[in-house]
């Protein structure tokens, strides 16, 4: 698991790792396009939204609220709550994004749950090349899926018929397990999942996951690794 001479992963590794998920993302993009059209969003708006917002759950929430005649404020609030998790997620990748401001902005926009999870290298490290490769692949899949859904309608039916909704938690689990080295990481995972499940029935969607981020405060229980004493000026 921690072989010392580990090869550096490249952009291509990110593309390869995320490819199976990209198929599922096309499927959900199609169903988003279908739902958005049915909600009266027209042809162009759903495609522009996929190109700019690029966050599936928030876009589904906004479209379904418009569909049932909800207010603009309700649709925006729901979407923003669902995307609030990208605040802490952005903090986790920030130290590893060493390029120019434009490069960091681009990486930030391509950071979604799946590209973020795949780019993790354990111990809080992230690989920006894998993040970019996986992010571009998912972006293309999401936008192409949306266009197909808007243009051709219900060609695949409900993606859950194909079990695609189970593919996402399976991926997250596969990427979580290698991160569970050490007692604190296990505790944070159990506490995070627990917070999310307890809050799910009582809070709007999105809140459980952002609240689960609070489990990271367990890290405050540990003192920073003590340095060699003697006041060496490092």
């Amino acid at each position: 698991m921690s072989e010392p001479a580990r090869e550096e992963r490249s952009h291509r590794d990110g593309v390869r790792a995320v490819a199976p998920l990209a198929i599922a993302v096309v499927g959900f993009g199609i169903s988003y396009g279908v739902l958005a059209r049915a909600a009266g969003m027209g042809v162009l708006a759903p495609i522009v939204m996929s190109m700019t917002t690029f966050a599936g759950s928030a876009q589904f929430a906004a479209a379904s609220i418009l569909d049932v005649g909800g207010t603009v404020a309700a649709a925006i609030t729901a979407a923003v709550l669902l995307n609030a998790r990208y605040g802490p997620i952005g903090v986790t990748v920030a130290p590893w994004l060493t390029g120019s401001a434009w490069s960091r902005f681009l990486h930030a926009q391509l950071t979604v749950d799946e590209s973020w999870a795949i780019a993790a290298e354990g111990d809080g490290r992230y690989n920006p090349r894998v993040l970019l490769g996986a992010g571009v692949t998912l972006y293309a899949a999401w936008v192409v899926g949306t266009v197909l859904g808007v243009a051709f309608g219900d060609v695949i039916g409900d993606p859950s018929t194909w079990g695609l909704d189970a593919a996402f938690p399976a991926l997250f689990l596969a990427l979580l397990v290698p991160q569970l080295r050490g007692r604190r990481a296990k505790e944070a995972a159990v506490l995070g999942a627990g917070i999310a499940l307890v809050l799910t029935p009582f809070t709007p969607a999105g809140v459980p996951i952002i609240a689960a981020a609070g489990a990271c405060l367990l890290g405050l229980l540990d003192r920073p690794t003590p340095r060699a004493d003697g006041g060496s000026a490092t």
């Binding site: 909704d165 996402f168 997250f172 506490l191 999942a193 499940l197 405060l217």
Partner: protein
Amino acid sequence: MSDTWTVVVGVGVATIGIKALGPMLLGGRPLPERVTGVVALLSPALLAALVAVNTLGGDQELVLDARVPGVLAAAVAIRLKAPVLIVVVVAAVVTAGIRAVTG
């Protein structure tokens, strides 16, 4: 501007801003030592929450449906050290199979 376009622009601007915040403000610098341990735990905490909510979450309720055996099968595949591709396919196939049988 129509309601639809107000939502598209509002959600788009907010999401782009939220995603950009960390990398633009903190990018490329190591975090202060005190914070590193906390941020390192964000990954397992958020990933575990995503697993939980995507497996058991419904519309403001917890539901036990065909996703659960799918994710359990994925857990077995992970235990057997299957590659991620196989893990994902196993989850989808088991969930789809159960839905096909139970209608």
